[in-house]
Assembly symmetry: C3
Homo-oligomer: 398 residues x 3
Amino acid sequence: MTISSKEEFKNFVNEVRQAEGYRDPLAFGICRVDVGQINKNLTLQAIYPIINWNENFGSGAIFISTLKELNINLDLSQSEIVLPISKEFVISALEKFQPFLVETIENPKSHNNIAVLKAIKDQGDFENFRIVFLFEDAPLKSAESTYIKLYALSQKKVKIRTINLNGAFANLQNVAWSENKPIELQWLRDNEISLKISGKYPKIDFVDKFPRMLQHIIPENNTRILDGSKVRMGAYISAGTTIMPGASYINFNAGTLGVSMVEGRISSSASVGDGSDVGGGASILGVLSGTNGNPISIGKNSLLGANSVCGIPLGDGSIIDAGLAILEGTKIYISPNEINKLIEINLNLKELFISSKNSFKGKELAGINGIHFRQNSENGRIEAFRSKREVKLNSDLH
Amino acid sequence: MTISSKEEFKNFVNEVRQAEGYRDPLAFGICRVDVGQINKNLTLQAIYPIINWNENFGSGAIFISTLKELNINLDLSQSEIVLPISKEFVISALEKFQPFLVETIENPKSHNNIAVLKAIKDQGDFENFRIVFLFEDAPLKSAESTYIKLYALSQKKVKIRTINLNGAFANLQNVAWSENKPIELQWLRDNEISLKISGKYPKIDFVDKFPRMLQHIIPENNTRILDGSKVRMGAYISAGTTIMPGASYINFNAGTLGVSMVEGRISSSASVGDGSDVGGGASILGVLSGTNGNPISIGKNSLLGANSVCGIPLGDGSIIDAGLAILEGTKIYISPNEINKLIEINLNLKELFISSKNSFKGKELAGINGIHFRQNSENGRIEAFRSKREVKLNSDLH
Amino acid sequence: MTISSKEEFKNFVNEVRQAEGYRDPLAFGICRVDVGQINKNLTLQAIYPIINWNENFGSGAIFISTLKELNINLDLSQSEIVLPISKEFVISALEKFQPFLVETIENPKSHNNIAVLKAIKDQGDFENFRIVFLFEDAPLKSAESTYIKLYALSQKKVKIRTINLNGAFANLQNVAWSENKPIELQWLRDNEISLKISGKYPKIDFVDKFPRMLQHIIPENNTRILDGSKVRMGAYISAGTTIMPGASYINFNAGTLGVSMVEGRISSSASVGDGSDVGGGASILGVLSGTNGNPISIGKNSLLGANSVCGIPLGDGSIIDAGLAILEGTKIYISPNEINKLIEINLNLKELFISSKNSFKGKELAGINGIHFRQNSENGRIEAFRSKREVKLNSDLH
């Protein structure tokens, strides 16, 4: 069935979307897959030229209706669907997209989904592709759907900690990565002797379930990632972030919400606000260690000093001094005078300070703005006071 | 001489091994070598498809007897022997292994040493191979023997700190590594102008005497090494270990004895027990710095907090808080009550605690189980007490 | 114009250099450039087979006179000149260098600039080369001149902090680096769909304005850089330095002045003296953070303990204990007895100690020799005293 005008296209799409039993996919896309060297049924990596997240429902409708036309049984009540694609599918879908083909050829970015189909058709190989639909934000059931969510995070289509990532670890295989390609460890073992004898043993960059973000994602022009090994696929890196190669690491479902200098670790589920600086070797604890599962957000314009450890959420304009660890259980002294200053900028926290106490646990001070943590170097007491300086990032010179 | 039955093979091997002056090699193997671009006599890297360590004495006997047949002078009283191999050697040895050839072709892993010979014969290039024997655990005399010991460590055929590695540094050349291949620095200098003018200057990954472990070793299926640069050849990484890319590093002759999360440094000669967690940026000092040469073992289910420093051996179920450095000379206060609790689980240490003192040096507390080190954030005193929680690793989610 | 003898060459050079309006270049060289995939006028990387820094003025005169002969307008009053080269230029310059050609062919290193010309002529491609002159140490105006200064630093032709690097960031493009080659991020975006569909999306090693030092510089034979990502182009790494892969990083215009073990961070403008050890995870603050712009030098034979933070200049034979942060504002206690010992080796500092005070701010103690900083683990006070031990590096075993 060929559609010959944009008007006809629009009507067709409406018809499909209003049909009984149809539902718009939350996310969908076509990916190229790397399958196992031994187990060809195992998807080791899914590479998406583009993903659709809560958008482009027309393209979604075309994809689904084309599959149905080809008599492929689709149960849209499932949380996700992953299917191979065929030459017939590509050609048939392109026929429906015909009103947009000229525009797509002129500017592939004008219609990404069509450009993907066209690129597949042009290269003439239909073997290693999958079409993937997510109909709800449910636990993950496949490597393909796991990758679509990791893309959604790293392309900043969804915020950190807002989507269901259960099953991600179970659906990804632990593999050796060589030149962007995943290799089954057992295949390496099976071929170790001949590979080594011939001098062709591959250069293994790393071994993990997840690829690195730079294998899949193109950062913004003002984002710097000085070592690709430091950012896992699924990390959320906002424009203007610089990630230094010393002791930094950003896990998946973690990252920066604005311009940020990162020389330390942003563990899983942790986020760092615009203008904040994670100093060399600083650690923001993740939900998996030391935070009792409470994810840590760092506010704006805050500073974690070199080799500091942050185990509580921090507000805006706050500072943890170099080398200092502030954990949930850390006892912190604040003088009455400084309490008054902190109340001025943290009105909602009056209750915390209403008693006459001067010693607080780290977790009581979670999320306070403008607080500066320091260890008194004369008596070893950990103290907090109103941060005296704005934390400014030198965007120019790192 | 062709051997035609397994029985004949067995008799032949027994004859060889019982001959006057014969001794079984402690270790042996055939390796492919990368030699210098300038100095062709210099072995820069030795790649072993398999090594034999205190095992497969029959294959060893075949190798040695074949060399003797070919009139190669072997002095088995040497601590090690390294020889080139020839086509004659390969063919002659394979004739002796003939009773096992069918099995080897069906399943190369059934007879690794034979599979190595066959792979060399099949590819028809005999130039860049060496056969290597170690007859005792003596100081190293060659790159080839150094590599066999590094393999023994990384394939966990020997335990950390149990073999003689003297001479390792002297026998390895400091080279530039590009795509798994070692390049002499002088060769780069000699060819710098033409390489750069032609745009073919190689990508140098690193410059070191040692390769990375992942160039040679295939980890277990549940082991993750998120950045290959973090693990030197000769490291001992037990199944189930995860090594994060932030601030971690595992040197040769150091590693993990079980499932472990490693986000910090395990310096030379240090070991970490099953279930223990080396937090982000944590440092375990090596024999070369800060431990007066005493190697550090961390017990089971222990935790080194983020950015902590461990300069003493730790027992099981112990904790060093985030950001805290416990060195040999650190003075640590323990209350009488906590001393009693620690004695309960460290019966052998009663003597240490028998006096009425409450202040201990770090090295006095070496190896104690269930101890938790913390800096009192009210007065800066470093204190220890009975660890209140089990250290559990979340194997799922890192 | 062909020059046929060394005498004639010398006379010609003198004539050129004494001509009205001529001035010797401070630096010059011919580089191969990588230009933008989209913007062919944009230099993304400049690769110098050799640079001349305050040297080889004869070659400089030949280059400049050859350009003038070819009617290229050169304004030597500019701070820098960057020009494409042509076949005519190469041939014409080589004619002038003819008296040295035989020597150059025999030993290219005997006349590096001639060898560069000859290599370009031999490969017959003149498109992607630039000739670059710096006439003064002024703010940078081009990528090519920026690279020549980064080379000068990394080849140790100039000392850290002695040259004008203003404009470096502005002249370098933020690009994706793949196999030593810079790729415009926009080009990746424009071609993402086809690259991913065909399975040819490049392996991006990192995204930065600067390349890594090992892409351009060949270290000395006894220098080890265990992870190339840890050293930015423009770093100054002295012979005998070892840089471990754990938490280390050396920025441009920063580095080591002698043999050094580096397992931590040497931030921009910081330097580390001969025999000093930057422990695992230790941070030396850069001019961009925490030092109020005062660059930090560490003296000789000093030690920064694991995970320590150094925010002040240190003299020789000094120590900061593991895990300790010494910043400009840190208050440090020194007993009268230790003050006396420190005065013995810091005669020039008598004034500082002349008062009867015992508490000093970190910045007051900047540059003192033989000082050891420690936190008293009984009362949390940060104290300093005369360093009791020499800091010896174990050159053998790391």
